[in-house]
């Protein structure tokens, strides 16, 4: 390959990434966009293999076969409900790869034909190592929490923040020392890596399971930053472009998630939300009664409704009831009714998760309506059907300043003509907060497993 051509071809890759993301602006073009992005990646890989001073291929081939095989297997076998865990793992692997590349660049100094590091390269190596490390272990903890291999509750200990701050200070000190003092101190580098890996763990353990969507989005951003840092380390622009695109993507999603929960990022990261389960929303549920509804009555109301707005929560996915919901919606539509799905930004366990789960059940994507667009439509809805959702429909967010979720934007289910809430029991939701919607006079409760109840509703409407 002629010298100087490679950077231009890398530029083609970068352009394909950008065009690929642009095509994600509509579900119609999104798949094609993803292919363009993948093509960009393929080009980058091929150019690297042809242009860079690659002297031995066996390790590369082995790595590509093993990694590619594992990645393909994971992508094929993962369940859509487990997508947050999958993305958490991928974030971690991305961070890990950046850590290893930065580490290799540092450690190979002193070998034949390797020049000593310039101070600024050393800075980028330290930064890449740090970000890569916390992304690796932080993502792994997020994975363990989401997979329920460890407690979803915040893990806290006395003086936690002070301890974390000390660890961080130690990392900075070691990094600065490494850059300022000539010569590569390998032991200090290893200590820095160890402490950074530890900090990744420490930063994620105090964050509760309900806040994991924010954490994954943030780690997504870190994995991009880590890739950009690697770009600085090996002086390659395409890594910087791709990494900063991912970095900004993760930041935007983090911001959206925080807004949807009415929390600041600092609050999510450091407040250990949900550690001390709030008993109620200030108001006690004692003495309030709920209206229970039979499957027969609920079926009648749904069958003759003109507009039904389904409000799915993660409980729907847990019960694996997405497909039955679709069946129910089909029946309502056959009876001349209209069905829409109201999707709260934090309805699933990661941004947009609920949309994927419903799309998997063949719900047409134009029936999936986001919060700001669906809220004005609730007064027109004959029935709002709440399935396994709780905090995102809790009116306390509007009218109870003492509630932990006060001020959080919610789906205005209480404005619907009537509401049917499908729930296993009266236990409070993920965030452990009581919900006055359940005691509202317009609300009827349909207790039981969501999937069983929905199947019963389908059977009942069919026999009408």
């Amino acid at each position: 390959m002629p010298a100087g051509l490679a950077p231009l071809i890398y530029l083609v890759s970068a352009a394909l990434f950008i065009m690929g993301i642009k095509r994600l602006q509509s579900p119609d073009t999104a798949r094609n966009g993803n292919m363009m992005s993948a093509l960009g990646m393929l080009i980058a890989i091929v150019v690297t293999l042809l242009d860079q001073q690659i002297v031995s291929f066996p390790v590369i081939i082995a790595g590509m076969v093993v990694g590619g095989g594992l990645g393909f297997w994971m992508a094929r076998s993962v369940k859509m409900t487990s997508m947050p865990q999958m993305v958490a793992l991928l974030n971690g692997f991305g961070g890990g790869a950046s850590l290893l590349v930065a580490g290799a660049e540092f450690l190979k100094v002193g070998m034949p034909n390797v020049v000593p590091l310039a101070a600024e390269t050393n800075v980028t190596i330290q930064l890449g190592t740090f970000i890569g490390s916390i992304t690796l272990t932080g993502s792994f903890i997020a994975f363990l929490k989401l997979q329920e291999l460890m407690t979803g509750k915040p893990v806290t200990f006395p003086l936690q923040k002070t301890f974390n701050a000390l660890v961080f200070l130690a990392i900075v000190t070691l990094g600065v020392y490494q850059v300022l003092v000539p010569g590569n101190q390998v032991e200090i580098y290893y200590a820095m890596v160890g402490l950074s890996l530890l900090l990744g763990v420490l930063l994620v353990i105090p964050i509760g399971g309900a806040d994991m969507p924010v954490v994954i989005a943030l780690l997504n951003s870190y994995s991009g930053l880590a890739a950009a840092m690697t770009g600085f380390v090996i002086d390659n622009q395409v890594l910087i472009v791709a990494g900063s695109l991912v970095g900004s993507s993760g930041l935007i999603l983090t911001n959206i998630m925080c807004k949807a929960m009415n929390r600041s990022l600092a609050n999510v990261l450091f407040a250990a939300f949900g550690a001390d389960t709030p008993g109620g929303s200030g108001k006690s549920a004692e003495g309030l009664t709920v209206n229970e509804v039979s499957v027969e009555d609920a079926a009648l109301r749904l069958a003759y409704a003109r507009l039904v707005i389904v409000v799915p929560g993660y409980g729907l996915a847990v019960a694996q009831a997405q497909h039955v919901v679709r069946e129910l919606a089909d029946l309502i539509q056959k009876n001349g009714g209209e069905v829409k799905y109201a999707i709260h930004p934090v309805a699933g366990r990661m941004p947009g998760h609920m949309n994927v789960l419903l799309a998997e059940s063949n719900v047409p994507y134009d029936q999936l309506v986001e919060m700001d667009d669906i809220n004005p439509q609730f007064p027109r809805a004959d029935v709002a059907l709440v399935i396994g959702a709780n905090d995102v429909v809790n009116p306390a967010a509007h009218n109870d300043p003492s509630s932990p979720i006060y001020g959080m934007p919610i789906l205005d289910v209480e404005n619907a003509q009537s509401t049917i809430v499908m729930k296993r029991s009266m236990n409070p939701g993920f965030a452990g907060i009581q919900n006055e919607l359940f005691y509202h006079q317009k609300t009827s409760m349909l207790f039981g497993d969501a999937k069983a109840s929905l199947s019963a509703l389908v059977g009942e409407i069919k026999s009408l």
Binding site: F17, I21, K22, Q25, P27, N34, S37, A38, M41, A44, T48, L49, Q52, Q53, I54, S56, V59, I60, G63, V66, G67, G68, L70, G71, F72, M74, A75, R76, M86, V87, L90, G94, A97, S98, L100, V101, A104, M111, A118, T124, A226, A227, I234, V238, I240, A242, S244, L245, V246, S248, S249, I252, L253, I256, M350, P351, G352, N355, N362, Y365
Partner: protein, 97 residues
């Protein structure tokens, strides 16, 4: 500072702004595929991993390089294929073949 670093900072800043503009227009319904897809893009670290693994740096190439290529490839292949798997489910008329 060397020209390379300065140029890098320029590219980084501009690409971040571009990223903000682009990604703000992605509808919430596609946020999960956006995350897995952008994850795949961050697998661009594969370029660095290949350079390490393909170099002549003894154990560093053999072990660290191998590990880096494996992790980055999982990111690339896993990210793109799972994103494709999700995106093919998003249809306006799922009944159509």
């Amino acid at each position: 500072m060397s020209e390379g670093i300065i140029l890098g900072i320029v590219v980084f800043t501009l690409a971040t702004f571009l990223g903000f503009e682009l990604i703000q227009r992605v509808p919430p319904t596609l946020h999960t595929p956006l995350m897995s897809g952008s994850n795949a893009i961050s697998g661009i670290t594969i370029v660095g991993a290949l350079i390490v693994a393909g170099g002549d740096f003894g154990w560093i190439s053999q072990y660290i390089g191998f590990g880096a290529v494996v992790l980055a490839m999982i990111n690339v292949v896993g990210g793109y294929s799972v994103t494709d798997r999700m995106l093919q489910m998003f249809r306006k008329d799922p009944e159509a073949p």
